[in-house]
């Protein structure tokens, strides 16, 4: 309706997202100027911090890994018309699944342990997401509200479990016992000396595989077709004989399982133990990553990398420019969600008008739009 003349595909998938992200960064730049720093210098420091040397680069990849998982979790649900805000809590509970198995099979070589840990983390996080999915499917409770609530419940529950049950007697801080070094997901620095002392681990490749897997799932499977049908038009899905209820529950479980993979990178890898509040906002970054990437795996990969750069570069920046704390990144993240998610129509209109102006005169004959307007 708003677009009598459809925009070319490249405008939709590339130009508009880039414009929106640029806008978010411009405003971020203004905020940097407000606190009296030079935004261009800040970007230079960030880029150096993220790519300039092995240590920084390793961290960038480590963050990227987390954000790919979290972003894919939101993206998969989004294709089904579901807004999963619960990635944070799902990843947290996934950490429990990961640590339980990792400790239970302690001493087992990681190559054998990793699949088990993955399954367990996926299962725990998947179940945590399945609950809101079930409530939406069978009881009609809106998944947005329930996933928010489930995040808080996860925080309380995990805090109890970690501090009361998992915490070994001889440890002071709230965390679980450590995973046997043989079992722990190995760091890439074992093979790549450049990445020395960085937490990037095998999970990075699992994340890349997940990108491919999700692409295949959404566009080249019958499940993906059904999922997208439901996402665009639930009534049509019902008409086609697809069970919306079943699709919602499966989708949420898959989404949660993907969020749970954060635990492979963190709990079973980078941290080597389950830390209190270990997810630390990763699940929420996933929302920004998914929107910015238009819920497409290629987009998710690229925006996960961008946020990886922001997070790692941001640490560097906080050293060099103490006025710019890492919360600047949260601000950028918010602006990205705002412009690519909620206000995506803001730039769309002017771009549409520009294209209409460019094309007007070319087509003057009656268009199908007439019928729809009547």
């Amino acid at each position: 309706m708003s677009s009598a003349m459809p925009l070319p595909r490249w405008v939709d998938v590339a130009l508009l997202p880039v414009l929106n992200v640029t806008l978010a960064f411009l405003i971020g730049g203004v905020v940097v100027m407000i606190v009296g720093e030079n935004p261009i210098e800040a970007v230079r420091i960030m880029l150096y911090g993220a790519f300039g040397y092995g240590y920084g680069f390793g961290f960038t990849l480590y963050y990227t890994t987390n954000f790919i998982f979290a972003g894919l979790a939101v993206a998969v649900a989004y294709h089904g018309g579901l807004f999963n805000i619960g990635g944070e809590g799902q990843a947290y509970v996934g950490g429990l699944g990961a640590i339980l198995v990792a400790l239970a099979v302690g001493g087992l070589h990681w190559a054998f342990a990793l699949p088990l840990i993955m399954i367990s983390a996926a299962l725990f996080a998947g179940v945590w997401a399945f609950i809101p999915g079930y409530l939406q499917a069978k009881r009609g409770s809106h998944v947005v509200i329930t996933t928010i609530m489930m995040n808080f419940i996860a925080t309380s529950m995990m805090s109890y479990i970690i501090s009361r049950i998992l915490k070994p007697a001889n440890v002071n801080s709230d965390e679980s016992a450590r995973i046997d070094p043989l079992t722990r997901v190995p760091f890439l620095s074992e093979w790549v000396p450049l990445l020395k002392n960085t937490p990037v681990n095998i999970s990075f490749f699992i994340a890349l595989l997940a990108l491919v897997g999700v692409y295949w799932l959404i566009w080249h499977t019958k499940f993906g077709y059904a999922l997208r049908t439901m996402g665009h038009n639930g009534t049509a899905a019902h008409y086609a004989g697809m069970s919306n209820a079943r699709l919602i529950m499966i989708t949420m479980a898959i989404s949660g399982a993907l969020a749970g993979m954060v635990a492979i990178n963190d709990t079973a890898g980078a941290h080597g133990r389950l830390l209190l509040g270990y997810v630390a906002g990763t699940g929420f970054v996933g929302i920004a990553v998914a929107f910015m990437g238009k819920a497409h795996p290629i987009g998710v990969g690229l925006s996960a990398l961008l946020f990886g750069v922001l997070y790692q570069g941001g640490q560097e920046l906080a050293f060099t420019m103490p006025a710019i704390t890492r919360e600047m990144i949260v601000t950028i993240q918010a602006l990205v969600i705002l412009f690519t998610g909620a206000m995506s129509n803001m730039l769309r209109r002017p771009v549409e008008l520009a294209f209409m102006a460019a094309q007007s005169g070319a087509e003057r004959s009656g268009s199908p739009a007439e019928e729809k307007r009547a």
């Binding site: 309706m1 905020v31 407000i34 606190v35 009296g36 807004f83 805000i85 409530l135 009881r139 009609g140 409770s141 809106h142 947005v144 509200i145 329930t146 928010i148 609530m149 489930m150 808080f152 419940i153 925080t155 309380s156 529950m157 805090s159 109890y160 009361r164 929420f284 929302i287 920004a288 929107f291 006025a323 710019i324 704390t325 919360e327 600047m328 990144i329 949260v330 601000t331 950028i332 993240q333 918010a334 602006l335 969600i337 705002l338 998610g341 909620a342 206000m343 995506s344 129509n345 803001m346 307007r373």
Partner: protein
């Protein structure tokens, strides 16, 4: 008795921002705008109030600043959801992150206290008000503790919050504005075709939302606490949202739900470190989670049914 009074006093104290935020949400959701950004507005206005109160030493200016911040947030939310017909939930989520990032970022840059503002004192804070005859009646049995101990001795914002409940009920059911507010959340077309502006009405509702939640935020940093500290809203906006659902978008039940959730919080403070037989130390985490569990149960229809205003969450498209 004294224990009970003290728990109830705490209940009122912690319920105040919940009530303000919950009523705030009521106005916007009744108008058909889902406001998940209550949390961010609460946080942002707590920050704004604390900053201005710290700099000027005047708590009233702080209050105005707090309201100003939430007005800006409401404005952005309005732009996104009314003008650009964006997804209201995404907009709310973005605003929550914006508050969470900006408050600490700006706070750290301006005050260098790791995101906290300097402690407030003197005219930069709201203080408890003694109601008339509170001292005289203190000794009277039953009435004394209730009037002097429980009802008297809160800040002005608490009294405003409690007065806002009947006021909201009156506005909603007895006034022209209330009628239109309820209509725009149910069927905005009915208003449009009757010659009224849907957008303007929704903006008005968002403005009221901002004023109320702005007071709630100011309460956090200038009345309940004496400075802003990072993430100090700590989920209260979401609790208020839960209370709103729990109350089925009605003012008096909203008060009840906020008091219930406030009571749970008060109880949790009280029982911290208390050891019970058999289970040992009280698992306060369970109580933290209780409001959320209850809301989920309600949403799932296990405890009654919550039906939101029909048009909520949907941008109004004027073309047909």
């Amino acid at each position: 008795m004294e224990d009970l009074i003290s728990i109830l006093v705490t209940t009122i104290r912690v319920s105040t921002p919940l009530i303000l935020a919950c009523l705030a949400g009521l106005y916007s959701e009744r108008a058909g705008i889902v406001d998940i950004g209550l949390e961010g507005k609460l946080l942002g206005s707590a920050f704004g109030a604390a900053v201005v109160a710290a700099v000027t030493g005047n708590v009233w200016l702080g209050l105005l600043a707090g309201i100003g911040v939430s007005l800006v947030f409401s404005g952005i939310h309005g732009l996104a959801s009314i003008n650009f017909r964006g997804n209201q939930i995404i907009s709310g989520v973005a605003l929550n992150f914006l508050a969470s990032g900006l408050t600490v970022f700006l706070g750290a840059a301006w005050f260098g206290r790791g995101g906290n503002t300097p402690p407030l004192s003197g005219g930069a804070r709201f203080y408890a008000i003694q109601l008339p005859f509170a001292r005289e009646l203190a000794g009277v049995p039953v009435i004394g503790p209730i009037y002097s101990g429980l009802i008297s001795g809160h800040t002005i914002l608490t009294y405003i919050a409690f007065l806002a409940v009947p006021l909201t009920a009156f506005v909603l059911w007895r006034t022209r504005f209330g009628l239109r507010l309820r209509a725009v959340g149910e069927n905005p077309k009915a208003l449009d075709t009757a010659g009224m502006s849907v957008s303007w009405l929704r903006y008005k509702a968002l403005a009221i939302t901002a004023v109320l939640v702005g007071m709630g935020g100011a309460y956090l940093s200038t009345a309940q606490a004496a400075s802003f500290s990072r993430e100090m809203s700590s989920g209260r906006g979401y609790i208020a949202l839960a209370a709103l659902i729990f109350a089925k978008w009605k003012p008096y039940p909203a008060l009840g739900a906020c008091l219930l959730f406030g009571f749970l919080e008060a109880l949790q403070y009280r029982l911290q470190g208390v050891s019970l037989p058999v289970i040992g130390p009280v698992p306060t985490q369970a109580m933290q989670a209780l409001p959320y569990v209850l809301t989920i149960l309600l949403l799932a229809g296990f405890v009654g049914r919550a039906i939101a205003p029909k048009a909520s969450g949907q941008p109004y498209v004027k073309e047909r």
